[in-house]
Point group: C2
Chain length 158, copies 2
DNA sequence: TATTGTTATACTCTATAACTATA
DNA sequence: TATAGTTATAGAGTATAACAATA
């Protein structure tokens, strides 16, 4: 096959090659969760609510790296779908707490199970040493991302 | 911090934990490319055109896992932006070949460089053995995904 | 005055169904 | 008849700007 433009192969270890691999993984993962017809954005927001419990709309928007109006609309759609509910923040009359419903939590778990199964299928096809590399590499990358985010946001000072 | 719902941590090696890590990586990578204001979809399609050269619209839609009308519209938007052009397929009057322009290719490279730099920053913060795990794991996963796709699509039979 | 959230507006992205033109 | 592509339609996802209410 003729290569129209010279570029790194996904396997050569350069940062660009690695990014090509990541892009492929991203596309694969995105396709693998289908339950409930949830979008990536909804699934991600719901996951955060499930993991971390009810939180402020602004907090959620910041955490998900979307604008406040975007989150307002996303929450509205999810509320309409019965996945989350809004409640008043008693400590601040301006605030709104967003909370996952039982339906929402259950759907989120089912979707993540689907994605996890798809990833597991991939891993199962790898030889042993590369399997181990995956179980080391992915959590390590996640940890570094978390560290960076913790460093750049206010560390809940006294 | 109180855990609202019990769930695997990103680092415990279970498929669900690994998927949480992948989700985090996905969000990080998506945010890291900003040049040209290209969307994920446009960037991905442009990348394929760059790597593989001009191809049929249907072929492109299938490869990117989107519907044909979706690809029609995406190509239209990209054409309007000067990133691709349509040409006739001389071997089939119904067909349309989509081809990246020089502008399109240049922008694609710049965006991937941005993403690669962001990934490299992550990797640089890892201890040596985990760095090595990353350079093994990501290409291995990409390779398995490619294998699966090759198996499920017609292998260009005679 | 600053912050929280919503509304208004305007794109992109996405799918399904219906259509046109060519094979 | 089947395939390639477009058009029509509709809804999700996104952002910025303007606004309302509360702190």
């Amino acid at each position: 096959m003729h290569k129209h433009v010279m570029e790194p192969a996904p396997g050569n270890g350069s940062a660009e090659g690695l990014m090509i691999a990541v892009e492929q993984l991203v596309r694969y993962v995105r396709r693998s969760a289908t339950a409930g017809g949830l979008s990536t954005a909804a699934s991600s927001a719901l996951g955060r609510l499930g993991r971390e419990g009810p939180q402020r709309l602004t907090e959620l928007a910041r955490a998900e790296n979307v604008s406040q109006p975007n989150m307002t609309q996303l929450v509205t759609r999810m509320e309409r779908a019965g996945l989350v509910r809004r409640t008043a923040d008693r400590t601040d009359g301006r605030g709104v707490l967003v909370e996952a419903t039982d339906t929402g939590l259950e759907l989120f778990r089912r979707r993540r199970t689907e994605r996890a199964a798809a990833l597991q299928q991939l891993i199962d096809e790898l030889p042993e040493p590369e399997q181990r590399a995956v179980t080391v590499a992915l959590p390590a990358l996640a940890r570094v991302i978390e560290d960076r985010q913790a460093r750049s946001s206010p560390p809940t000072p006294p």
